[in-house]
Amino acid sequence: MPSPSKNVRRARRFSRPSPWVYLFLGVVLLASVFPFYWSFLIGSGDSYTVRDPHMSWLPGGNFWTNVDKVVNDPSVNFWRALWNSIYSSTLIAVSVVFFSTLAGWAFSKLHFRGRGRLLVMVVATMAVPMQLGVVPLYIMFSELGWTGNIGAIIIPSLTSAFGVFWMTQYLRQAVPDELIEAARVDGASSFRSFLTVGVPAARPAAAMLGLFTFVSAWNNFFWPFIVLDRQDPTLPVALSLLQSGYFVDYSVVLTGVLLATAPLLLLFVFAGKQLVSGIMAGAVKG
């Protein structure tokens, strides 16, 4: 017979936690956003702010001057970099989403010879580090005369093993087989049934994959740094240029950091919920 005390304790786990938990999470939140505030603090000062031992914790008045410096620095090409980042990340995200949905549809819902083995191959490619291919990739693109061209960073990223795996997992449980058979009976071609049955079902997973791909394409550095022209960079490459040279003005550098991060922060404010729930759903459980 359950005693009252037992019931009380049973309920405890589902009641609100102690204030310490909120305090702890508050500290974590502070640690997450403090570096942003720090960049703003330095970015709103001048080149001496960094060295000031009595630096104020309130922002200075130089932010727009520094923005102006970053945006008009001839060695950085900020607007070009911003455009390149938007253009390449969008194209990569759209392409990865489309091809991953297509391949995920085939792997999860269509029957063909070698399906299992091919899917294992896709997953295996995820363990291969970028470094293993950069030397020949660089040689290939320079033979083609594409080094310095934004295409050199777009083409290798047009598809993604993670994306294919992700969509396969999602579509497997999201679409009942009967639905495809019904489309078939109605005389739909294979591609048409993909468009009418697969694509609508894939939408939530596709949104997450698109966001995820966009963020990683935007932040990618190693390969763009190698293959792109300094005059025609993406934002991370442009940021790296801000720090080259012996006299580094950190107020300008950290303003640049904020400017390069702002678009993604905006995206996160609007779509972060989706990104979070996507990561939550995509984790390997158990």
Partner: protein, 345 residues
């Protein structure tokens, strides 16, 4: 006869041609759908990997675009250079300093988020904020904060009466600083993955454990951690793959970007870049790429085995026999204590 399973219903009225077309559509469509992935992968993944192997056996001539076969000379050159061993030490050190604290922190934060908190989405989103920031941007901020003379960290240390730390001259200090950047960016991401796995653990386990008198820490160690086993392995292996390739942060740690005047924070990936695109020695860079890959496989495997070993017993119990066996170890230890606790309430 083709062995594929047709999902086509047989209809009498269709013309032979149309049926043929439909059959062809059903048979070939899957291959067409997966073709883009494999085409891109062969062109930009598989072929370059094989090509890397070939180049690594050559003395590559940039001008002529071909090489002279030299066998394993490049590998010996890499392995006999003292810089390589320093880079290896740095890579492993930064990797350990980033992975271990990061995962410990991620598990603890995830456990806090797993409680029945208010404004759950807000907290979840807040931990993910650092993840949207480019590693280059993170590195620029933190290398500023870890400045030797005027950095925030050192001025706080001196204000507290401690000596400032030479973040850019001492190897270990520089590893700590670089690992901090990696931890900052990835802890939240791993937190959410672990949180997802925590939420999949049946709540009844906790209820039963509470009834049995197990405290929060005991429950965490005996239910939560074992329940995370698969996810922990996944997270450890992915952070191994990423952690051993660390490039952006050491590259941006000072304005020269070469890994420090005495190679204090030269990592293998950064070394590979310096050799390939600084010295333009592609043969040696290619050999290094293969050595790095071997290292990733080796450490990944070790981590897999260690993680599996560390969280095994209870996890197997949870997986195979939920509800019954999971509580047994706790019963034996707490049976005697229970009446006392009950009496205290």
């Amino acid at each position: 006869m083709p062995s594929h399973r047709s999902i086509l219903p047989q209809r009498n009225g269709d013309s032979a041609l149309r049926e043929k077309l439909t059959r062809w559509d059903v048979k070939s469509a899957p291959y067409l759908y997966i073709a883009p992935f494999f085409l891109i992968f062969v062109a930009t993944g598989l072929f370059p990997i094989g090509y890397t192997a070939v180049i690594s056996l050559m003395e590559w001539d940039m001008v002529r675009g071909t090489g002279e076969f030299v066998g394993f000379d490049q590998y010996w050159r890499v392995l006999s250079a003292p810089d390589f061993w320093i880079a290896l030490r740095n890579t492993v050190s930064i990797f350990l300093l980033s992975t271990i604290p990061q995962l410990v922190a991620a598990i603890i934060i995830a456990a806090a988020l797993d409680r029945n908190i208010r404004a759950r989405t807000f907290w979840r989103m807040s931990v993910l904020v650092p993840y949207v920031m480019a590693p280059v941007a993170v590195a620029l901020i933190f290398s500023n904060m870890f400045g030797d003379k005027f950095g925030l960290v050192n001025s706080l240390l001196t204000q507290l009466g401690m000596t400032s730390i030479p973040w850019h001259t001492d190897p270990f200090a520089s590893h700590v600083a670089i690992a901090t950047m990696v931890n900052f960016r990835w802890t939240g991401y791993n937190t959410l993955i672990l949180l997802a796995a925590m939420q999949a653990i049946p709540r009844e386990y906790y209820e039963a454990a509470t009834v049995d008198g197990a405290g929060a820490i005991r429950q965490f160690l005996s239910i939560t951690i074992p329940g995370l086993r698969g996810t922990l392995i996944f997270v450890v292996v992915t952070s191994t793959i990423g952690g051993l390739q660390v490039f952006d942060e050491p590259r941006m740690y000072d304005h020269t970007g070469t890994g420090g005047p005495d190679n204090q924070w030269l990592t293998i990936a950064l070394y590979l870049y310096n050799v390939g695109w600084g010295e333009w020695d592609f043969g040696r860079a290619a050999a290094m790429a293969w050595i790095l890959f071997a290292l990733i496989l080796l450490v990944g495997l070790i981590n897999l085995i260690v993680t599996r070993g560390l969280v095994r017993d209870d996890a197997a119990a949870v997986a195979e026999n939920p509800g019954r066996r999971v509580l047994r170890p706790r019963r034996t230890t707490h049976d005697n204590a229970r009446p006392v606790e009950e009496a205290n309430r």
